[in-house]
Amino acid sequence: MKTFNKGGVHPQENKLSNDSAIEVFPLPKQAVVFVSQHLGAPSTMVVQKGDKVKAGQLIAKAEQFICANTHSPYSGTITKIDLATDFTGYKKPAVYIDVEGDEWMEDIDTSNDIVRDIKLDSAQIIDKIKEMGIVGLGGAAFPTHIKYMLPQGKKADYLIINAVECEPYLTSDYRLMKEKAEECLIGIEILKKALNVDKALVGIEANKPDAIEGFTQLSKNYKEIEIVPLKTKYPQGAEKQLIYALTKRQVPSGKLPIEVGCVVNNIGTAQAVYSAVQKNMPLVQNILTLTGKNVKQRKNLLVRVGTPLQSVIDYCGGLPEDTGKIISGGPMMGKAISDLSAPTVKTTSALLLMSKKESSRKEETNCLRCGKCVKVCPMGLEPIKIAQLAENRLWKDAEKAYAMDCIECGSCHFTCPAGRPLLDLMRVSKNHIGDLRRQKAQR
C-alpha cells in the first residue's frame, strides 16, 4: 500500500464518531461572523450596522490578491460591528447578527438536488470559487482560487484530493464522503476542469474501507478520478507527504506543490466547490465533529459559520464534568481553545473535548538520545538537534539544521519518551529564524 517515505507515527485512531450521521445544527439566535476567515490579506467590509442581510449575502469583499470573500450565513439584522475574540483569544473584526428566520439570497439553490452538468469553463469556475469565498478546509484556510491561477510557465499534471483524514478522532471528512460522495466527485470534476488536468488522485487512509469502496464504485462514472488507498499512518495527510505517497514526487524545500505539477485540495473543499459552482452556494457552513472520550453524544454536525462554540457543546449534552482541554481540530495539529464564547469559522472541523488527565503533558526528563524523534520525522529532520540548538538560542545553527522545513506535525513531540517539548522548541526556532530573515531583508 502506498505511503510516504520517511518517518511517521500511529497514534490511537479513536474515530469514535464514525457512525453518527451528519445532523443539521439548529440556527443560533445570535451569531458572530469574523470579517476575515482566511490566510492572507484582510477582506474589506461591505455592510453597516443596522443592515438587514440575507443568508449568502456578501459581507466582506476580497480586494487584495491573497484574500477571500466572506458571506453572511444567516438572514437577520447586523446589530454591531466590533472586535470579537476568536477561540485562541485574539480580537478580530466581526459582524454581530441577530438571526431572523432563514431567508437565502434568490440566486442560491438550497435544494438537495444534485446538479451534474458542469456549464462553466475554467476561468469562470475560478471566478466562481473566488466569488463564493471558498478557502481550503483542510485547516490552513488558504483562498482556494489562488491555487488554480497557475504562475506563468507552470503546468499541473495532477489534481490531488486529500481525503486522508489522518488526525485521530476526526470524522467530518469521512461522513462527508459517506453521505455526499457524488457531490464530492462532481466537485473534483469541476476542480479538474478549472486546473485543466486529465487526472485526479484521491488519497484515502486505509482505515476508511467503506469510504474507499463507495468512492471507487462511484468514480467509475467519471473519467480519470483514481481512488488510492493509503497506509494508515500519521501524517499521511500532510501536503508534501501526500504528494509523495501518490506520485513519488518530492516538493522541493520552500516551494509549492505546483513545482512538481500538483495542486492539492481537501475533500471538504471539493464539496464546497461543488456547492459554489453548481448551486451558487457560498462557503457559510461546514461539518463539525464534536467528540472526545467523555462526550456522551458524539456528533457530526452541519454548522453555520459564526455559531458560538458553547452552543454546539450544549447541544451535545454540555461540557463533561472533568473537561480539561478543548481542541479545535484534531489532537495532533489542532489548537487549544481558550474561550468558548468564540464562534465557529469556515475551517472549524472539530471540537475535541479532553479530560483533565488527558490534558496534561507527561513528565519531562533529560533527553535519552533514543533517536525516536529522528526516526519518526516525516521531513527527515533531527528534532533532537534543533531542540538542543533552540535551548541554547543558536537560531542560525537551527536554521542550518533545516528547522524551517518543519511542518509542525508533532510526530517528534508525540513519540518522545522523555516528554520533551520538541515541537514547542521547533516553533520557537522558526519564529526566531523568521525574525532574523525579515531583519536581513530590511537591511
Binding site: 490511537q12 522541493p252 533529560n366 538520545r369 527527515g380 509542525e408
Partner: protein, 318 residues
Amino acid sequence: MALLTVSGSPHVQSNQTTKKIMWTVIIALLPALLVSIYYFGLDALMVTLTSVVFCVGFEWLIQKFILKTKTTIGDGSAIITGILLAFNLPANIPLWIVGIGALVAIGVAKMSYGGLGKNPFNPALVGRVFLFISFPSKVAMSEWPLPKPLFSSSVSDALTGPTPLLAMKNGQAVDLWNMFIGATGGSLGEVSAIALIIGGLIMLFRKVITWHIPVSFLTTAGVFGLILWLINPNEFIHPAYQLLAGGMMLGAIFMATDMVTSPVTYKGQLLFGFGCGVLTIIFRSFGPMPEGVSFAILIMNAVTPLIDKAFKPKPFGY
C-alpha cells in the same frame, strides 16, 4: 466556567516514558541475574545488590548535596548502571571494590556530565574498566569463580578457574553448550548467552532497542572471527566461541545498545555495531588480554558524535 488548559499541539503523546524504558531494561536483565545466582550462588546476588545500592545512593547524594537538583533516582537508570556494573564483575569480588566501581560509574561517568542522557560513555563500562586497571588481581581476567550449584556454601571457596576465552588461548577445550546456558566461568552476568538473548528479545519486543546494534555487532564479530579462523585455525579461536564467550552477548545486547551513548540513526547504529565487532575481535585476537568488548564499546562511544554527524538523515525536498 472551568479553567481550560491551553498548550501547543500535539495534544496526545505516546505512552512510552523514560521510566518505562528503564524498568523494561531492568526486567530484561533479570533472566541473566537469575542464571547467575543459580550458578554462582548468593554471592552473585550480594554483588549485584551492593552495586545497585551504591549506584543509586551515589546518584542521590550527588544530586542532593553537590548539584542541589531534584533527585532522579526514580527513573531507574542508576539501577541499570548498578546491575550492569555487577554483571561485569566476578561473583567473588570484595564488596568494597564494587563500591568504588559504583562511585566511578555514577560520580565520574554519569553525574559529572549532567546525569541521565548527557554522559558520552556508558557509566557501567567506565566503572568496570576503572576497576579492571586499578585492581587487576581482583578483577583480572585470568582466574574467575567457576559455577557451582545454588545454595552450596559460599562461592569464594569454590574453585576458581580460567574463563573460556583464556582457556582457549591456552589451547584447552571448552564446551559450547555450557557456554550457551551459562555453566562456565566469567563475570557474573555475562556467562549465559541464552538468558541475555531472552533479555534482548524482551527489549526488542517492547521497542526499547532495535535489532541494528546487536545484529551488526555480532555479525561483524562472527564474520571477522570466521575469517581469522579460516586463515589459521590453530592460532585463532572458532567464531562460535567468539560469539558465546566473555562479554560478547552482554556487550552487544545490553551495553552497546545503551541509547544515550550510541548513534541515533539506523545507519549510524549499524556502523557503530560494526566498529564494536571489529575492535573486539582485534583486541581479543592480537591484544595482550583475552577480552576486549569493554574497550571496543568505549572507543565506539567516543566516536558516536562523529557517526551522528556523518549519518544525518537526508531532509525531505533536498
